[in-house]
């Protein structure tokens, strides 16, 4: 009997854990939307919060007219370029700065200071230097990503297990080899945290830049709808953005678990 009890706990459940998670997610999403729809009208003024139905209609209309894909693609391109730039720079700079304690401690407060500057306040400078085309969006996305990746990776570099570094060094590894074989792999979980924190902020950066000055992109779309007090439009644009961000972050997660298959 007890044998049976045990084998039962080992038996495959009706749903695999992964599809169970998807089920829960779906339930959660539907519940949220239903609650929103129900609250719209009696509790909440649709002028402020629109309603799922209205948002859905707008999405359908935009999809049909091709607007959505057009604007989304533009924002995606800007963010992607910014993300690649910012993440690469962040990792490289973190590895560089993390390699030396004095350098690290010297540079750290300055980077923190720059990180803490609200980029909105520098909008005029951005526009003057980078114009109003794609450049300022890419730059803002890159900057947003850079700092998050930089600080996370730097922390990872500083958290490395010195015993492994010592082991490699006695085997004759130079600085560069230690970086490649020990520091980088051991900072990877931190790096990925930085990437996952950075990617959505990259989008936020690009969208914020679009809101500042542009004639295309999700930021333009929200700003445009907001200007016409079309809340459904604002939410539809944001919803599309959310979907893209989440999917991309999910993809990052997949990449990560493939890299961390040794666990």
């Amino acid at each position: 009997m007890s044998t049976q009890a045990l084998s039962e706990t080992r038996a495959e459940p009706a749903l695999s854990p992964s599809s169970r998670v998807w089920l829960y997610r779906a339930i959660f999403a539907v519940a949220m939307l239903a609650a929103w729809q129900a609250a719209t009208g009696p509790l909440l003024d649709p002028f402020w919060v629109s309603s799922p139905v209205a948002v859905f209609k707008t999405l359908v209309a935009w999809t049909a007219s091709g607007q959505l894909a057009y604007h989304l693609l533009i924002t995606f391109k800007e963010t992607f370029a910014g993300f690649v730039l910012g993440a690469t720079a962040g990792v490289a700079f973190a590895l560089l700065v993390g390699a030396n304690d004095t350098l690290h401690r010297t540079v750290d407060p300055f980077v923190t200071a720059v990180y803490g500057v609200p980029k909105v306040a520098l909008a005029p400078l951005f526009i003057m230097w980078f114009g109003i085309g794609l450049a300022p969006k890419i730059v803002l996305a890159a900057i947003s990503v850079f700092f998050l990746v930089f600080f996370s990776t730097l922390r990872g570099v500083r958290e490395v297990d010195l015993k492994m570094v010592d082991a490699l060094r006695t085997m004759g590894a130079g600085k560069f080899a230690v970086q490649r074989m020990v520091i980088f792999p051991s900072a990877l979980p931190w790096l990925f945290t930085g990437l996952k924190l950075g990617l959505p902020y990259g989008f936020v950066g690009a969208v914020a830049a679009e809101m500042m000055a542009s004639n295309a992109g999700i930021g333009y779309l929200t700003q445009n709808s907001a200007g016409q007090l079309d809340t459904a439009g604002v939410f539809a644009a944001l919803f599309a953005l959310m979907v893209v961000t989440t999917l991309l972050n999910e993809a990052l997660g997949r990449l990560e678990s493939w890299i961390f298959r040794w666990r």
């Binding site: 002028f47 402020w48 909008a123 005029p124 400078l125 526009i127 003057m128 230097w129 114009g131 109003i132 085309g133 809101m211 500042m212 000055a213 542009s214 004639n215 333009y220 700003q223 445009n224 709808s225 907001a226 200007g227 016409q228 007090l229 079309d230 439009g233």
Partner: protein
Amino acid sequence: KDAGLDVSLIDTGSGTNSMAAILGGSVDVAGLVMSDAILAVAKGQKINAFAPLMSQYASDAVINRKTAEKIGLVPEMPLKERMARMKGLTLAISGRGSGTDKIWRYLLSLGGLDPEKDVSLTVVKLDKMYLALRSGQIDGFNTTAPANNQAVEDGLAVWAARPSHGEVPGIENFLYTVLCGRPDFLDKNPEVAAALVRGMTRASELIRSDPDAAGQILHDRYFQQTSTELIKHTVSDQRMTVSVPPTLSEQQFAHNMEFELKFSEAVRGVTYQQAINPRWLGA
């Protein structure tokens, strides 16, 4: 804007951004508030106004309808009376020293109020003013159409002061917004400037003479989501602000300077020649 020009319209959230875009070279021409242009000139920037957009101080004040009832304000009262009743309200400006700030101060002082003590002027971004009023966070605001027209049309607010209708003494015939460009751009591309001025003139005439048609065009091209009625009303309501025929006279400029100097010494010394290039108006 129908004068056969291929222009791309770019939405930049604020005056500073537009100015940055012009001076950084990424935009050739932009509509700016004249007072910003004057200030930039005073700070040594090279920027010229070459065509008027609005020649009335088109920043109309509205206040919440309920507040108006409470303080007994009705649009039919004389302006001074209306202003005098504004005591204790929370009013939105877009920034200390901005156009909305100045006009509030000017209006309130007409009513004998001290803007520092008798009301609370709070900074709200221009595009958030309507929302702040609607959610009851402020009692009134002051901005260019259509946000204030919308508030009135929606029955949320009533007019408190209408400089755009010329009812405010001292700022009639005033350069409010103008088309600006860098002098070197204007020199190199006189035909573009001329074309823009021609387009402007035609548009102004259309707005003045047939606001409904102009409103329809605006709606179809730029504001599909906003109701046609609102736009038509707004255009016709604001039609007196456009400049027909377009002028950028020394007298208007002097008016501007006089108004600006009430608030800031920084702009003293800016001359007509530095700020304005009326070459194309005659063409």
